[in-house]
Subunit: 459 residues, 2 copies
């Protein structure tokens, strides 16, 4: 089932990679305000490309938010299915000194891989969809109507897009909603995701003395804020890795026997990939759940960052004035982010001794819920078939541990069956150093999208 569009994609493979690299050169970091102009530049790059390949395109800019890019092509006619595709073009922070071997914003091609911040998370998806569309449109063979919605603040909050999809439900109306993000544990074995975890984030600051103190002059009489913070945070887990926050697991939907069996197929892949990518001295976590269940079907409480005192080269015998930590919880259905955040805040306050003060910041606008899709749905079955054609191998099913905050919001706001289409490699260092993608997965992704259009049109 190779079409003219597939031929076009293969003939233009090198050009498509160069275009991906052009977008990767733009440091569209949404979590750091001084990169706002770069996010803007990336949005304008996408608008220009959409117009070039034949879509109508608009940049949606709301006061205080980073731009949303919207494009559409409705030339397949009213009887043809309409597909809404979501991706994001913003990226996590990165500087070479974090431990990168190459400049994070100078894409580097080595042995069939492309190294760059945002390559995997998630510009591979943005560009794969654009180039699939280009291939179909250039060969007059696009059998479905397509709406593209590319977000510029997925890594920071996804606040604006939530408002946008609620306010533009008619404009975004579609039969199928494709959320294209995420990754697969192997470049040759496709794995399709029907579950995602949600997220809630907290910033915790413990203050003790009203200024930094000499640890000789006061040591032994002041509750060191670092000491207090580790004592407080240390009470949030038990020795086996369970979260001990009151009520934390109350709303977790149990895994059914049928689902457990479906998921079991992925177990060996997850374990092998863990050994390669995580490669910690030992597996850790809730012992009564399999590794892949801990990742996809169980919530967590993680310290993503912590600091206080003098942590540079050298020594400074100080009792710091304050210590701080950034905490996040990965959530699963039916946990509510804001409820869980409240329970964590209560626990932190309960564990704070009178010798220090604690302040906790939490913005409910950034909370996202976990998602579970029906893997028996018609659209999901179309995705499974498209991957089988694109990759030449039947995909496995999985629940993913990451969060795509917008998914739950889109599911609430819009009609249309929701499916997920990931093209990244899970070992590709999303949110880490030396992030990369396989060029082969980028190309198979484009081919898969073209198959998906055809299967949908064929009904």
């Amino acid at each position: 089932m190779t079409t003219p569009a597939h031929h076009y994609a293969r003939a233009n493979a090198e050009s498509f990679i160069n275009q991906l690299c052009d977008l990767l050169r733009i440091p569209s970091i949404s979590t750091q305000t001084h990169h706002a102009a770069d996010v803007q530049r990336a949005a304008e790059w996408l608008i220009a490309d959409m117009r070039r390949i034949g879509l109508t395109a608009e940049l949606h800019q709301a006061e205080g938010f980073l731009p949303l890019v919207y494009g559409e092509w409705l030339g397949a006619g009213e009887d043809a299915p309409t597909v809404l595709i979501y991706s994001h073009y913003d990226v996590q922070p990165a500087v070479k000194s974090d431990g990168w071997d190459t400049e994070p914003f100078e894409p580097t091609r080595i042995d069939g891989k492309i190294y760059a911040r945002g390559a995997l998370d998630s510009k591979i998806h943005t560009i794969a969809h654009l180039k699939a569309l280009e291939s179909a449109l250039a060969t007059n063979s696009l059998p479905v109507n397509v709406k593209l919605l590319f977000e510029g603040e997925e890594e920071s909050a996804s606040t604006h897009i939530v408002q946008f999809v609620h306010a533009n439900a008619d404009k975004l109306k579609s039969d199928v909603i494709v959320i294209s993000d995420g990754s697969m544990p192997d470049q040759d074995q496709p794995v399709l995701v029907y579950g995602l975890r949600g997220l809630t984030q907290l910033e915790v600051t413990v203050t003790g003395p009203h200024r930094d103190l000499h640890s000789g002059h006061y040591g032994g009489t002041v509750h060191n804020p670092l000491q207090a913070l580790i004592e407080i945070l240390g009470k949030l887990h038990d020795e086996q890795g369970h979260v001990t926050v009151d009520g934390f697991y109350d709303d977790v939907r149990p895994i059914s026997a049928e689902e457990r069996a479906t998921l079991a197929e992925i177990g060996a892949w997850t374990a092998r990939e863990w050994q390669i990518v995580a490669n910690a001295p030992q597996v850790w976590g809730e012992p009564e759940f399999a590794l892949h269940e801990r990742i996809g079907a169980r919530p967590t409480l993680e310290i993503n960052g912590m600091a206080g005192g003098f942590y540079e080269q050298g020594f400074k015998t100080v009792i710091p004035h304050k210590a701080w930590a950034k905490i996040s919880c990965r959530l699963v259905p039916d946990q509510d982010g804001t409820v869980i955040a409240r329970r964590v805040i209560d626990a932190l306050q309960k564990h704070t001794p009178p010798t220090v003060q604690i302040t906790i910041e939490h913005d409910p606008a950034n909370d996202s819920s976990g998602v579970l899709l029906d893997y028996q749905s018609e659209s999901m079955q179309a995705v499974i078939r498209a991957y089988e054609l694109g990759w030449g191998r039947k995909p496995l099913l999985n629940r993913e541990g990451g969060s795509v905050p917008v998914v739950a919001s889109i599911q609430q706001a819009l009609t249309g069956e929701l499916v997920l289409m990931p093209f990244g490699y899970k070992g590709g260092g999303a949110h880490s150093t030396n992030e990369f993608i396989y060029e082969s997965m980028f190309q198979r992704g484009i081919a898969t999208v073209l198959h998906f259009y055809q299967i949908l049109a064929d009904g």
Copy 2:
């Protein structure tokens, strides 16, 4: 008992302060290798001033070490007592963005105070002794022989000076050894110190996965190194603030009833000063010891710095590859730094779970022991009388919580009765932001040194 030297000191008070400010402008930070040239410059400034006021002076420079400054004046003759004075001219790191209101290396005079890094710790002492000598020599009234030994790496290691005093015991021979460093809890009430704590320092690094990981993709299956580190460090204290390291208190010399009574006089001062300077929500620490005993007579284990993951502005949902902490123990007689470090290392290793790896760095060369001087000695009684004249008030006695690493080494290597002469204000932010001294204490310090010479000479 006002002498021509005292008159000279008063007449030149403004000039003396300007000279102190000149030295304070040199960022002689010994713990950061890129400041080595500044330490050198400060040493040369001191050499030049010693020669100007009539001392012979030498700069002792050993391969790989920062310079030692030595000066002497032996014109009082063989029958007169000889005084060896130790101080240090290096300082802790500081940059304005740490939270200073003024530039740390641009001394700023406000309301009788001088704000600058190193003002209190310890350039007030270096310059007070130099200017006392200048005042006595300029008025031909120095009744004792004086040897000055100014160190340039007290804040980093004091490695070189230990070798130097052992190798130059004859050259440094004296009747009295004055260690001039430290501070007093009130500008008008002198407090003399007869005890100091020692110090041992450790750097701890916990590694887990072999790279930073996405907390969604792996959260729940990897023992987060920050989580592991807080669990490990959390086991080093009990809920009351006692150190739980096996054998930690074994060699602590108990406080006698007589000493406890002598020390009790300082209690109210310590408590008041704690409220002003530390000002934490509550006092913390071993409940069976008074506040001033916890500071002076009890050892501690302190986390001076800790970091891991993403702790800047924004959020990064990462499981970090590693987390690290800088730990130090304040020691009291008869604890041995290297023995204690070994016990802490054993405890850290014992508490490390198999899910992570730990590495611990400790350099025994940086260990220092606590010191207890005999406050009944002839020299100590001379110091007490000199302060009474210089300050117009009888000094109280105290055990100090800080460390002057060289004191124990000097005590071992040299003969002569050891005494301590502090001129700093304890609330003056040593090792912290907005470090300052009172100009009045600098001037009283100079006057006190002149009285001390006279009392020694009068026998």
